[in-house]
């Protein structure tokens, strides 16, 4: 279960705009928000698996008012199963 530390960078530091953006974010149960600094909001995302984590981050980036999402911490102890490599040509 990946746990990621994120920083949400909002387009606009205006409180009214921030409020609207964050309303849509805080409805999610998989995301904890921390104390903001201007337009930068720290957050922690907990996802069932890697693919879900990637999708969630991509979805956050699409929310109007969020300029970008930076991942600043990744815990992957649960993901230390060795990864085998298939040659790409097999995936044609």
């Amino acid at each position: 279960m990946p746990i990621l530390g994120l920083v949400l960078i909002l387009d606009d530091a205006e409180p009214k705009t921030r409020g609207a953006v964050l309303d849509s974010v805080t409805q999610a149960t998989d995301l904890d928000l921390g104390e903001p600094a201007e337009h930068r909001w720290p957050a922690v995302l907990e996802a069932p698996d890697e693919a879900a984590a990637e999708h969630r981050i991509a979805a956050l980036r699409l929310i109007p008012g969020i300029a970008t999402v930076d991942v600043v911490y990744a815990d992957f102890e649960d993901r230390l199963e060795p990864v085998s490599v298939s040659h790409a040509s097999e995936e044609f």
């Binding site: 530390g5 921390g34 720290p42 992957f76 990864v83």
Partner: protein, 802 residues
Amino acid sequence: MDLDRRSFVKLSAMAAATAVAHRAPEAAAAVADPKSAHPDVSWDKAPCRFCGTGCHVQVGVKKGRVVAIAGDPEAEVNRGLLCVKGYHVGLALYGEDRLTQPLLKQNGKQVPISWERAIEIIADRVEADPKGFAFYGSGQWTIPEGYAAQKFMKGGLANNHIDPNARLCMASAVTGFLATYGVDEPAGCYDDLDRCDVLINWGNNPAEMHPVLFSRVIDRRSRGEEVQIIDISTRRTRSTAHAQHYLEFRPQSDLAIANGIMHLLIANDSWDKEFVEKHCAFKADSDPAALHGKTISFEEFKQGVAEYTPERVEEISGVPAKDIRMLADLFGRKDIRITSLWCMGMNQHTRGTAINSLVHGVHLLSGHFGKPGDAPTSLTGQPSACGTAREVGTLSHLLPGGRLVANAEHRKQAEEIWNLPEGRINEKIGYHTVKMFEQWCKPAAEGGDISTLWVQVTNPGQTLPNRHKLFDPGVADPDKFLIVSDVYPTPTTRAADLVLPSAMWVEKNGMFGNSERRTQQWFKMVDPPGQARDDVWQTIAVARRLHDRGVEGMKDREGRFLFHIEKPGGGVVPVWDWSRFRDVNVDRALFEEYRKFSRLKHKDLAPYEEYVKARGLRWPVVEQEDGTWRETRFRFSGFDDPYVAKGKEIDFYHSPTKDGRAQIWFRPYEPPPESPDEAYPLWLCTGRVLEHWHTASMTMRIEPLRRAMPNAYVEMHRDDARALSIQDGDIVRVETRRGALDLPVWVDGRGAPPRGSIFVPFFDEGRLINELTLEDFDPFSKQPDYKKCAARVHRISEAPSV
């Protein structure tokens, strides 16, 4: 995962994110202190293993495994941020197929052997043909690794056939700097990105290739600052999406664009006369050609650029005249600061030295130099192309610290520092990369005088251009021998006669030098798997075997072993014995010897311990009266560079003309050696993608990255695809005069080449695009051009059904 651990990890993640958001490491303490919250996890710093940005990470280790990665909020480079590769970097160590034991090819199969036997085999090959032995290294070598190889070859074997893969990525940046300033590497630093009003990307894609650096500029915009981004490129990329201006140019015609800007600066009388008169001189190519050309007058320079009117530049490049005027108007302004960034688009270029020197010239002629935000800056792709390949001098014509093998005084200085007999170092320049592999691929009977090639930390079987010519014949020749030190199987290890398993990243001590002259250090944190061993140990072990066999070159002038290392307090440590290798910090010992070389070109390095304490230091690092060490952010600028003569605003103290002046070059546009024609009507460009680092030998073992980008593709313009009855996803054959490759097509994909162009990334070892690329190289840097050759495409089959 038990509740305690889950809570701890969430707290740690929030602490890291809070520190970054507040730009204050101490803010993390209000949330949690990961280092004390869970004593099972130890944390230490390291630069990221991947690109030349040099982001710092905090590495969390538990029970001998890397279990977590955090961006380091105390690092000036990245301030806690990481890109998608960076926050997965810990997983790069744990692919299933790590190389764990030496392998010898016997009857076509690679079979395990002992290290003892492996070292014997290498020593046999070197002793049998010391002049025919070549070492191919890397911008991913740590500084001590490159230094050991350099000393072994040039100081020990008196053999200059050592060259790094940085020849394929940075060599033209080097020659551009040398031709302009007389010394390598950027004068500015990443701080320029925090101050510039205009950022110009010259043929590079920092949004994908240096994302953390690019985010520094984008973040400024998020705070309401106005920063104009201009993207000068041959295809639209993710960087283009952030640009106010996109200038699409025909391949190679960047030369005309730069000349066009300088033409207008003069025509508009907006060039910085005072700056130029005080600090610059003019140069042009000489006959015969030489790196430093010939001095010309301003009038001759003006005559040279006279042809490059906006209309003429539009004719050559396809960039509208109004956009050339826009660029010149910006450079003509004194009230703004302009940073130019470039990478492979300008370096992998058969006129790479020329375009590098021209962009420097634009900044010098306009006076946009030497103030924070005013800088021409080349970026590196590899984590230590600067620190190792360029500064240690692991190129075939260099010695450490910017010295030349061809310079008698420089050889003498190196022999002094290495305590070698006078005359030990060979004055003849060794083979550059393309020549080295040509000579290895040519049969001995035909003059192919390289019989044994040792490759460390790189993958030439995937990265050399025109692979059928420069790699395959050597592999097929039974008289040639290939030794490869690496961490994972690659096309190069699979072709090798002898494979040596290597430790990687935090499995060993290390030091890197990034794109902004910042030397960085880390300590070993976990053990390498199986029998994998440090590359530096491998080199020293071979040197010792030769020493024990009586090879004179492995001794200094007092008869001591070339890698004589003592422990503090005295007493030789037999570091060639793996069981004793860690009795002393070999990195420290080698670095302290190496830094003696650093003063000649004022690239002063601090003592090792200073790098232990810091998140890197930018050279020259100079000791202060109070015993502290001060780094230099802006070179040649009087307000910051301690080597600038007192009272001077700017001082190019390594000027090629020995008068404190930088050189503004006139170099004309010349077409590339191969252009599209009737038989091959398309331009083929190659490059990288965000998710994979170079040949993806590490990132393909990281599942999220592999899943995000599982295979290579060919980007085509929609109209070109339609004209050939090709649809998105179809399989096509891409051909050049050198080879052919089948690839799926991506129309309207991440990048958008214009009509008449295609793009293929080179990360996919199952689809080797370098079987098709051109090996022609720049005449000064010897760097090949991967960005432009002629190709054709036809449909093989429709897209596979899902």
